[in-house]
């Protein structure tokens, strides 16, 4: 039985007059990889950003409907945004390490919480870098600048940074679109490996990537959730003609 970790109920979102999400109701299963696909501007990144309330930062954003993460309505008042964003980590399209050392990039989130001893921070940094398959490549230069890493390594560092907070969900917004095929393959394999400890939501323009790594696929179009199902089902016999056309490259 698959357990749902996140679900949305009639989620609508608009930026000013522009309606971006239209009554989206979606279940995200625990410890699975869910891919959000659809043409540019369909609202998939906006939907992703709803899950840790990143859209709150954009002026004139109006949201209605519900988003539940681990049984809590995250748009209710009294929600602690820092702890929400620690639980729901995010990695962006372009690797964005802090201009700090490799070690401090991962340790930073833990340090500012002020509740971990130095020893604990060291242990967690090492565990996170190992989980992000970066440890062996950086263990001898932890105090070098993160900017000295390659793009693929920087992206894995960003994943390690998110993992340091022991998140339950990882949101990945086109995490490999700025990377070469080899680094992409590594991130994809890493996602499959991380699935045992976190639920992963990935927005991707790379349909092949969604096919390769996701368990479930959601297809969005013009702010509507058109189809959601197991990736196997959606990629072989999609229920909606628009999904079929998008997968075949006919539009989008």
């Amino acid at each position: 039985m698959v357990e749902r970790q996140i679900y949305t109920q009639d989620l609508c979102l608009s930026f000013g007059d522009k309606q971006v999400l239209n009554k989206v109701s979606l279940d995200i299963h625990k410890h699975k990889i869910t891919a959000l696909i659809g043409p540019s501007g369909c609202g998939k990144s906006t939907l992703l950003r709803c899950f840790n309330r990143m859209n709150d930062l954009i002026p004139e954003t109006r949201i209605s409907g519900e988003v539940w993460v681990n049984g809590a309505n995250i748009y209710a008042s009294k929600i602690d945004l820092s702890s929400l964003r620690a639980k729901v980590g995010m990695v962006f399209q372009k690797p964005n390490p802090f201009p700090k050392s490799i070690f401090n990039n991962v340790a930073f989130g833990l340090q500012i919480q002020g509740r971990f001893s130095k020893c604990e921070i060291h242990t967690r940094v090492e565990a996170s870098l190992k989980a992000a398959w970066l440890w062996d490549e950086v263990k001898d230069r932890l105090h070098c600048s993160a900017m000295s890493l390659s793009g693929g390594q920087q992206q894995r560092l960003c994943i390690a940074r998110a993992l340091a907070n022991n998140p339950e969900v990882l949101l990945l917004d086109e995490p490999t679109s700025a990377l070469d095929p080899q680094s992409t393959a590594k991130i994809e394999e890493l996602c499959l490996d991380l699935r045992k400890q976190v639920s992963i939501l990935i927005v991707t323009h790379n349909i092949a990537q969604a096919g390769r790594i996701s368990d479930y696929t959601a297809f969005m179009y013009l702010g509507d959730l058109i189809e959601f199902g197991s990736t196997e089902q959606v990629f072989t016999v999609p229920a909606d003609k628009r999904t079929e056309a998008y997968l075949q490259g006919v539009f989008g």
Binding site: G211, R212, E232, F235, T236
Partner: protein, 214 residues
């Protein structure tokens, strides 16, 4: 990731192949050993082969749709898909032989067509060698299998003309002769399907399509 899945697929098709080989041996053994109860086992194996066929079909479709295999990975999946189809047909041929074996097992007519025993040996060898070639991606052995198809075709022609002679002479046994003809025809089809498997193996290992003399 993809390599592991293809490996699993190959294991599955090899288990399907071993069931088909077993079905054929049972059907032929039953032909020459009248007391041998084999038909139930053949039918049970056929059901299992059909199940595996559907399972492999689905897995191949899923792998192609989700993993975008290229080069050898793609050839492997396509050939497994094709060989899977051949194996299911081979299972059906074995069932046909089993049905006719029951009718003529231990009867006089069988001893009148000694060539059938030779043909059976040749076909059995072709099937086994085609599967061995596929397992080891041995294109030399696969070419040998293709070359042997003519030998089996000759057997088939000879047996059919022999049976026609016998039918002319001994009318009351015509039903038995027709069953023997069916067995020979099905053995010939098994040789054809083994040749298909060998051709697929050559495409798999060399990327060369050698069907129909191309």
């Amino acid at each position: 990731m993809l390599a592991n899945r293809i490996h699993e697929l190959k294991q599955l098709i090899l288990s399907e192949a071993s069931l088909v080989v077993k079905m054929l041996s049972l059907a032929i053994e039953g032909l020459y050993d009248p007391g041998y109860a084999f038909s139930e086992a053949v039918m049970t194996f056929e059901k299992r082969v059909n199940q595996i066929e559907v399972e492999i079909d689905n897995k191949c479709i899923t792998l192609i749709a989700l993993q975008q295999p290229e080069a050898k990975d793609l050839r492997q999946i396509l050939m497994i898909y094709r060989i899977n189809n051949d194996l299911e047909r081979l299972g059906d041929q074995a069932v046909n032989i089993a049905e006719s074996s029951i009718e003529v097992s231990g009867k006089k007519s069988l001893s009148q067509v000694p060539e059938l025993l030779e043909m059976k040996k040749a076909v059995n060898q072709m099937l086994r060698e085609s599967l061995e070639a596929f397992t080891n991606e041995d294109d030399e052995l696969a070419r040998k299998v293709c070359a042997n198809d003519n030998i089996v075709d000759d057997f088939n022609r000879r047996i059919i003309s022999h049976l026609i002679e016998l039918m002319k002479k001994d009318g009351p046994l015509i039903e038995e002769y027709l069953h023997l003809m069916r067995i020979a025809r099905n053995l010939e089809r098994i040789a054809d399907l083994s040749t298909n498997i060998a051709e697929s193996t050559i495409y798999l290992s060399r990327g060369k399509m050698i069907k129909h003399g191309f």
